[in-house]
């Protein structure tokens, strides 16, 4: 392993992680300095969950495609969403496994499974780029950050796919590029839309709290017939 690759896998990643952590801590401090709106009213609605249950329901909403009309109707987009985010988890995991636990990759089946997951995410990423460019609606709501983040992630998947075997016999460039991209990501993410996962617990927490107290959550599915 070259010094550059070792530096990229360790020192660079650790520094980038520290930077991202520091930015996120500052961001969280900024958010929590704002007061949370208070709900004074008595609970309403029939069959409402207790507040904690509603919040858990809201957090789990993303894993319950049947709970929202949008995910029910656009099930193919939902499947893409799942594949894409599984790929993210796999690629992030890979960025830790290669430097700190490369032995895991020697377990039979791990490399192909990771490659399938990350490869699928790459294909979804390509599909998402096309959708964002081709759809009038998507173009209208997209900023340069939206395009850049998507292209960057998709490219990252591609190099993660190549990096999975952790094999430098054919050259270090796939691994090196993957880790350089990962480091760039860690620095860039807090300033881009990719940091949405930082806000998800908040938006979902408060929506769950409010709509649970008002008996809206869990949403009752629209029935076709009366009765």
């Amino acid at each position: 392993m070259s010094e550059l690759l070792h530096f990229s896998e360790h020192t660079l990643q650790e520094a980038a992680l520290l930077f991202m952590g520091a930015v996120y801590v500052t961001r969280l401090y900024w958010i929590t300095r704002r007061k949370a709106g208070r709900e004074r009213q008595a609970p309403t609605g029939t069959g409402s969950l207790d507040p904690k249950g509603s919040i858990v329901y809201s957090w789990a909403n993303v894993a319950m495609p049947w709970s929202m009309e949008s995910t029910r109707r656009k099930w193919f987009l939902y499947v893409q969403f799942v594949a894409f985010h599984l790929g993210v988890v796999a690629a992030i995991g890979l960025s830790f496994v290669i430097p700190y636990g490369p032995g895991i990759l020697e377990t039979p089946g791990v490399v192909p499974v990771l490659q399938i997951v990350i490869g699928a995410a790459f294909l979804v990423g390509v599909g998402r780029i096309i959708r964002r460019i081709a759809s009038k609606y998507m173009r209208a709501i997209s900023s340069p950050d939206d395009y850049f983040s998507l292209v960057l992630l998709t490219a990252w998947f591609a190099f993660a796919f190549l990096a999975v075997p952790n094999d430098t016999s054919g050259g270090e460039w796939p691994l090196l590029t993957f880790f350089l991209l990962t480091a760039f990501f860690l620095v860039y993410v807090p300033f881009s839309k990719i940091s949405h996962y930082l806000y998800y617990p908040f938006t979902r927490y408060y929506l769950g709290k409010t709509l649970g107290r008002r008996g809206v959550y869990p949403v009752r599915k629209a029935r076709q017939h009366a009765g």
Partner: protein
Amino acid sequence: MNNSSRSYKAQRVIDRMDKKLNRQMLTSLLACVHCGMCTDACHYVLANPGDPTYAPSYKADQIRKFFKRHYDWTGRVLPWWVKAKSLYTDEELEELKDTVFGKCTNCRRCTLNCPMGVDYATFNRMARGLLVSVGIMPEGVAVVSKDQWEIGNQMGVLKEDYIDTLEWLSDELEEEFGDPRARIPIDLENANIVYSINPREVKYDPRTISDAARIFYLAGESWTMPSEGWDMTNFGLFSGDDDLGGAVGRRLFEKVSELGGKKLVISECGHGYRSTRCEAQNWAGWDVDFEMESSVITMLRYISEGRITVDKSKNQSPVTFHDSCNNARSCGLTEEPRQLLNLVVEDFREMYPNRAENYCCTGGGGAMSMSEYTPRRLKSAKIKADQLKATGAEYVCTSCHNCVDGLTDLIRHYKLGMKVTQLVNLVAEALVVPEVVAVPSVEIPEVAAAGVLAGHSVLVVDDEPDFVVYVSTLLEDNGAAVHRAFSGEEALRLAAEHQPDLITLDISMPGMSGQEVFERLREDKSLREVPICIITGQPELRKLIYDRPHRAPEGFLSKPIDEEQLILNVRKVLKIPHEKESPKTESSEAKKGV
């Protein structure tokens, strides 16, 4: 950024935004990933294919862009990278007004379909509030807000008119049941229930009040209606003005406390229920110490407790139910209306989708008061019209007065031939009156055969010939002698010549305007006592009349109008009680109901 190049109003909007950014609002503004999953959730999008400016995330970005420019790190350093842009001119504020008032009814359907939990409806309301704070809002919003601030209710109903209406309805009830206790108690202290209503009920639909009164009477309820602080609607919800919202809520809560009421019952109104039951306490910073419930729940309880008996065979026609957005998506009131409907109608048909997934009536969010957006609203109503049509029902029932107006308008526009009703009407129709309640046999007065308005003359003034013919025909069918005037000058001449009992007057007319006619009539010694009912297609112009230093008009109606509205209002203005009504209303048609 050069602050000196920014208009005063734009600067104030930006300054005031900071106060609005609580944790929920802040994270909702930060969290959107532009995934587009909300797009198809919006009825505006569905009715305007190919126009992305209606997409919820696009509309949200019109607010988000100046938030980002001032609060988001990337937006402050590299604004173009995240499409951040500050507000500089009053024209930009007007464009924002068009988006937040004219392209969204705050129905919250997109919120429930957002995987991230971004509550666009809430920050759209915030943006409305920011604009309102610098005087930028649709004219109708300004007029209604002013009425609610100054007069205490959103339709500018004067206290004497309100009390008059209740007394008139009480007389009818007393007559109907032959029982002096069958009246609407006003300001009764320590009652179990304080009943609050929508001013629309006083103005256009007093039958909903008398139907509720029948139910309370037959249930043997200890109830009252306050003489003041009775308006449970709250334009603060629509305008985003938390101060107005809090003031309106306080007015109501203070009255209930003053009367020692044990429970505040809110009549059927989606935004009124949401505002009063769920929001006003937050806006007013007031923890109320009494219970509040929707009249839907009250009626259901009366039936389940056996306090009233209903017979669903009295409502034979097919009925579908429209869930009000505020009830369903912000208050969880979806099952009780259905339980009640199944008890009082024979043929209840669900429209699809329903409950929290129902589409807006398109009149929500104060849209009915914003006449400048009417064509856009009616176009977007195609989605609702298709939903209604697919049910094959004759009646659409809804627990919201705003929805009643929105649905009535779209049913007329799309020629669906359906009728709109409310649960209180259906329950009242289905009531089984116990024998112990003496109901007098109905004598047919001589005058009834000639029509309820027989013996009264009405001067109809409007520059639209079709409208004059329409109104005249309705009045003549009900027995009135009608004179027609197509201009202000002609109106004054005919008024002097015939001394009518009532004048219906349009505001916007070429030549001498309705405002001028109104002033001239009020200044004329021989005509100043003649009651006037304004009928206008531009309700935002009514301040031209109401701001005059003259006695206010006795009646006010917004076009379009229907027969029931018109006759009810004319009877109210002319103080014609029910006994003059034709027997069909007393015995057959009204009781047959739907």
